[in-house]
């Protein structure tokens, strides 16, 4: 059992962020030194007074009793990523279409696409990503402790996660809602018929609370079976240990697609909650938050502006007639420099896996086994909710 006594002068910010960090990990302590908000360049081997202090911090931090990952999340995630040369991106432990390793162990999927886009924007290389699989329970700890730089793991944006858990949701990459999947031969056509059913849920998620609310509101009973990962839930559901599996509708579609006989299972029509899923970063590093936010917006804007992976080289070669495309692709203006990135950051991000629409169609769209329609996730011009703020 981890003891949460944190020794020492960790900065309040860092302490705040390591609060959720109960799974012991090596403390990651960064020595980036700031004075009056400016980074101090220092020759190797020269120790400034601040650094002595920092080293003390490191020492006391290491004393943190039994297992609390005492991490000082450095304010400059961007510098850390650059120095490391690799982006640590938290994803699911495996959800086909959203994030799962293929036969060669290469991660692929819709959420993975966001990670690759950010890596391309920051490092210029969509392959420079270290994917860290997280469960519903470990994801926030991993992000708070600095083990990952960003989390792209169909995570619902809620008030308490944003405010109380001290994270920053940078946007929404999938508008989802909680649904139910049942075997077809059960003969159930509505979630209201599920009185007395045994329901598999992933523990530590918002679905747990939505489920309790929905059944209480409809005055029907159920038996929850709490489960850690999607794979375990799938196994329990297929063995008939639970009648119903509930999670986000997109997750259900993805899970069903991986079944031997997807046609034997139906998704019930009820969607019982709003689940805006999006990537998130830690509180406190707004520069890094901006980079992830605008990379996501770049993917969305690119679809709206008709920039695809096919025509991007041509459009980025020289200024085009559309000033917004020019600003996005860096042939006009200084948007990249404002983020602290290269001028072609957005071009790299889009070229990594295509714009939002291409990512969607390739991973989870109607022509894939998962077969999700765009629905709410269409551009605002097509009646959906995707609406990128202007690049200007």
């Amino acid at each position: 059992m981890a003891v949460v006594l944190c020794a020492a002068p960790l900065t309040p910010e860092a302490f705040k962020q390591s609060l959720g960090a109960l799974r012991g990990r090596d403390p990651l302590i960064h020595y980036t030194v700031y004075r009056d908000g400016k980074k101090i360049d220092r020759p190797l081997g020269v120790t400034t007074q601040e650094e002595v202090k920092m080293k003390k911090t490191a020492f006391y931090g290491a004393l943190a009793v039994a297992g609390l990952a005492a991490s000082t999340a450095s304010a400059a995630t961007l510098d850390d990523v650059r120095e490391r040369g690799v982006l640590n991106c938290g994803v699911t432990t495996g959800l086909v279409g959203f994030a799962s390793p293929d036969a060669n162990g290469v991660w692929d999927g819709f959420d993975v696409g966001v990670c690759r886009a950010v890596a391309a924007a920051v490092l210029g290389d969509p392959e420079a990503v270290e994917f860290v699989p997280t469960t519903g329970k470990t994801r926030f700890t991993a992000l708070a402790s600095g083990e990952i730089d960003m989390l792209a793991r169909n995570t619902t944006w809620t008030f308490s996660r944003d405010v109380d858990l001290k994270f920053e949701f940078v946007g929404i990459n999938y508008y989802d809602g909680q649904g139910f999947m049942v075997p077809r031969d059960l003969g159930v056509s509505s979630a209201k018929d599920l009185d007395g059913a045994t329901v598999c849920i992933q523990t530590g998620t918002t679905t747990e609370l939505n489920l309790a609310d929905y059944f209480r509101a409809n005055n029907i009973s159920y038996e929850p079976v709490p489960i850690e990962t999607n794979a375990e839930a799938q196994q329990q559901y297929l063995a008939g240990a639970c009648d119903v599996y509930t999670t986000d509708a997109s997750g259900l579609a993805a899970t069903r697609a991986s079944f031997e006989n997807p046609g034997d299972h139906v998704l019930l029509p009820e969607i019982v909650s709003k689940e805006p899923l999006g990537p998130l970063v830690r509180h406190g590093d707004n520069d890094w938050g901006d980079i992830v936010r605008w990379t996501l917006n770049a993917l969305i804007a690119a679809e709206e502006l008709g920039v695809t992976s096919a025509n991007i080289e041509e459009l980025a070669a020289a200024p085009t007639g559309n000033p917004e495309v020019n600003r996005l692709l860096g042939t006009e203006g200084e948007l990249g420099a404002m983020l602290g990135l290269e001028a072609d950051w957005a071009k790299n991000a889009i070229a990594a896996g295509g714009n939002y629409g291409e990512l969607f169609e390739k991973n989870i769209g109607e022509n894939t086994p998962i077969g999700l329609a765009r629905g709410l996730n269409a551009q605002w011009t097509d009646g959906g909710l995707l609406y990128s703020p202007p690049f200007r």
Binding site: C6, L22, K137, A197, T203, L209, E223, G240, C242
Partner: protein, 405 residues
Amino acid sequence: MTTVTDPPQGSFRLSMLINDTRYRSYTFQFIALALLIAFMAYLGMNLVRNLAAAGLNISFGFLGEPAGYDINQRPIEYDSQSTHFRAAAVGILNTLIVAFLACVTATIFGVIAGVLRLSNNWVIRKLMSFYVEIFRNIPVLIWIIIIFSIMTVSMPAPRAFRGENPDSSMLFDMFAFTNRGVYTPKPVLDGAAGWIVIAVFIASVIGIFAYRRYATKKLYATGQLLPTFWPSIAMFFVPTILVYFILGRPITLDYPSLQGFNFQGGIQLRGSLIALWFALAIYTGAFIAENVRAGIQAISKGQTEAAASLGLRPGRIMNLVILPQALRVIIPPLISQYLNITKNSSLAIAVGYMDVTATLGGITLNQTGRAIEAILLLMLFYLTISLLISAVMNVYNNSVKLKER
């Protein structure tokens, strides 16, 4: 001639704290204690200061707020509108249930395996050492998952019991073995008459003990050996059954039956409980078997031989001579094994059993973000329960240990 003079009783000087061996150890102990207290105080202060700086506080107010989630195994009344405190209480009871069941079962397994390991029969002896070596050398978490997976995959789902010609059927129409757990009939008491039957049963159990005590006393006093086995059996069954039928069968059984999605009625032993219970029992049972074997082998062979030469049969030698002495060696490590079972029950989350680690330390912690408070409470709970078990077992140990007269 020598005169023995006491060393001069000089007044106490400060330097004696270092130089005088009589005081030196106290000095160092005091310094060490002071440093330890200072260190702990520093950690505590630092925690409070950092929390304050982060705008957070240590508050247990969340315990009074609605939990918002449901729990499947509820020994006390609970729904999603109950408080986090009640959710923690449900978890605590679930922990205690599985710990109690596992302690009892592990003791039975352990004693049987431990005694049989010393059997003269080669097959039984080897079989038992096989059990001990296999089960104690594979981590208990693996056992929990193995048993749970086997149950899930090999047992039929409730819907296999449905239809005209079902794939599975209930055992004696009373027990249903499904991959969601085992359903057994539940006794239902019919008013006061039911309680009378229970009271009679308890009274007859007490009677059996009283009779056995009397028989022992008589044996020591007169050397006359009264029969105990058959009278005990008779006392166990006859009065209760008589009263049961005289009062018109006031206890009925509620049989489980398939209704809707699940079996309803009866008692449901969930798969997660069975997996956890059984895994803890067989795993810890292997350790207890070794304790029992050690205890028995600690009794010198002369005792057995002496008892045999008095004409005692092997069963009596074990019960009257060896085991009472062996208990002195067995009990102290047995306490540790009980503590281990209680603490290992926190692995429950692996199979979704809602113990206190899963409710308070899992979902509550996750939904409220109150990590420090939840973990402190968990530590307090496990510490308290372990100390209680330890205290109770030590009382028992004092009653069986060698009485020095």
